[in-house]
Symmetry: C2
Subunit: 114 residues, 2 copies
Amino acid sequence: MRNLVKTFKALSDPNRIRILKMLEVRPLCVCEIRDILQLANSTVSKHLSLLRDVEFILDEKDGKWVNFRLNDEQYNQYVSKLLPLLAEWLPDDAAIKRDREKVNQVDRYISCVS
Amino acid sequence: MRNLVKTFKALSDPNRIRILKMLEVRPLCVCEIRDILQLANSTVSKHLSLLRDVEFILDEKDGKWVNFRLNDEQYNQYVSKLLPLLAEWLPDDAAIKRDREKVNQVDRYISCVS
DNA sequence: TTTATATTTCGCCACTTGACGAAATGAAGG
DNA sequence: CCTTCATTTCGTCAAGTGGCGAAATATAAA
């Protein structure tokens, strides 16, 4: 129960939804997400650790970066049902579309030095 | 987006999850739910209006009572996907089980006079 | 119409949440 | 080892949430 509620809480914030929808396009690091969402680094980091906590996303060290990607493995029953649903939803949302275009433009070598 | 977030927020509270899982058994009025959850009338009413707002539940006047039941109609894409998932989840949760046993015992003619 | 009672609305309080900047951490490269 | 820089952690603050009791509303019955 507790874990289920935590899982829904993770989905109860527009910025976290935006992050998940961006990660549908490709894995991203904190700086890239920060540049797209226009939030402080620390804020993005907190959102990501929350999403990781309930296993919506996984992180992989890549040199000095951390790549965050959707968890498409199947060991978490909530995640494995909810991520595919989310992927079907909001296909026409203007903000989401804009975010996903930006995903294809951002470059971590430019985003991160700041 | 806004509506989707609101929908997940509605699922982000243990008492609201308990209410939905109780309504899987049968429709209930505010007093019956209040007796099972041991909350104030006004608190239960607020939870119910929130769940109704995002169309997880419907209400029907029945004399001086209001019966709340799950919305099993199919016009809301989020609800029609999420309610069936919720119905599969938490099959072994102790609190949920206790609640559902109580659903079969409460009687609004006893619960409500207080 | 008056009374009883089920529900909703309102105002209040404690706690949580999402935001930030500053400081701490950790890995890469000089 | 020391510097650089991506990320995380910490402290703080404003806004949102869930709880309550009291007052308002609505329906049934007397």
